[in-house]
């Protein structure tokens, strides 16, 4: 027994080393589980307020560009509102009412921390559960899809960016209507891969890629990007397609968090259907 203690004492540095490394591995694994709610990330109170102060200062450097982006978006939205109003005026009354009631609510949030160069990137924003934000909600930007909420504290939330190597986004080729998946390759923050597009589909460069709306996180038709490069290997079943992402992740300033009011209803219906089978 004594020699055991002597042995442990002699190599205590090594044992502590192994213990700490195992602890780190546990942290890495438990943090990487999709949407696990963890306390120790950039949405906790202390880290959040430090990042908030920092962005309060650094935002002044990009005010001009942020302003221009918002003004462009404003103009575009105004135009769209006019168009929609015309359409709604022409519809029968009960259909129009349904459209106005709306399945999706949007709340805006300011980006206070963002990275694009890691293999798994996260964004922190200044809204939390006090503003009705919950893990699993979709996040879109001014020009397209941004990510999914991972966890939220009272006033801050961490968002899994689309630039994350574990995220697959269910997407559609707008012109042909074929279902596919968008996944980031891990190196270029302006490009992602479009996967599982079968050989028979006629894909062209410049085709628009949008969200499918099947996963009830984003509505159907949120812009993801445009097809940049199409190639296929001799015996492959699926195309290798590169998509130029429409969101410029390097200059995100404001994002919108999408709340799907009918998500619970849709999910419970789908679960019930599965149970019957």
């Amino acid at each position: 027994m004594q020699s055991l203690f002597l042995f442990l004492h002699k190599y205590r540095a090594f044992f502590i080393f192994v213990l700490l490394e195992v602890g780190c591995m546990w942290l890495i694994i438990s943090n990487n589980q999709y949407q696990s709610a963890t306390f120790f990330n950039s949405s906790n109170r202390i880290a959040g307020s430090i990042l908030n102060t920092k962005s309060g200062i650094t935002d002044y450097f990009s005010l001009k560009q942020a302003n221009e982006n918002l003004a462009t978006e404003n103009a575009r939205l105004r135009e769209e509102v006019m168009k929609q109003r015309e359409i709604i005026d022409r519809l029968p009354r009960n259909v129009a009412l349904n459209l106005i009631l709306g399945q999706f609510d949007y709340s805006e949030a300011k980006v206070i921390n963002n990275s694009i160069r890691n293999l798994n990137n996260y964004i922190t924003v200044n809204k939390g559960w006090a503003d009705g934000i919950e893990p699993g909600m979709g996040v879109i930007g001014q020009s397209g899809l941004v990510g999914i909420v991972k966890s939220s504290s009272k006033h801050f939330s961490t968002i899994i960016s689309l630039l994350h190597t574990d995220i697959y986004v269910s997407s559609l080729l707008k012109r042909t209507g074929d279902l596919s998946s968008t996944k980031w390759a891990g190196d270029n923050p302006e490009e992602a891969n479009l996967m599982f597009v079968p050989r028979h589909v006629d894909v062209k460069e410049g085709d628009t890629v949008i969200t499918s709306g099947y996963n009830s996180i984003f509505g159907q038709g949120t812009m993801i990007g445009t097809v940049n490069n199409v190639s296929i290997k001799e015996n492959a079943t699926f195309y290798d397609i590169k998509v130029a992402l429409s969101t410029d992740f390097s200059s995100l300033s404001y994002v919108y968090i999408v709340k799907n009011n009918l998500k619970v209803e849709k999910d419970s219906l789908e679960i019930a259907t599965n149970r019957i089978q």
Partner: protein
Amino acid sequence: MDNKNYVKQILYFILYLSIQVIFIKNVVLFGRGFCFLYIVFLLLLPLEIGPLALMLIGFLTGFIVDVFYDSLGMHAAACVLIMFLRPHLMNVLTPRGGYEQVPVPTLKLMGLEWFSTYTFILVFIHSMALFYIEAGGFNRFFFTFSKVISSSILTFILIIILQYLFYMPKRRI
């Protein structure tokens, strides 16, 4: 180590960590070269600190950086690794006079040759551990390796510049 030294180390700790997470978190050269300046704090810990305390300090430092990088455990793992290796590396690199007169392994006290060998090896191991853990294996070997090389060179150069800026004696005219 007296109280004054403790306070000094804690101030360095806060200083380096805040510089890392506030200013140079998003400094990335060519999409490859990351800068992990905060490990200079770990490299310059006084020699009298024992191996257990070194690893615990390494863990704490890495953990705080992780909270801001949203990469829980990765920096901590890399920091614990270099803090485990630091005493062994120092044994290998023992200069002729030993470490008798050396409270802190700075460039001024140890000379450029010793200091750059010491720094580069630990910085390289740190980047290597960090990026391969982040990639989750070796299946993207060359892309990850290019990140390792460029990040360790960038970090190394910055550390050396900092040493010349702040730790060298004032020149007399």
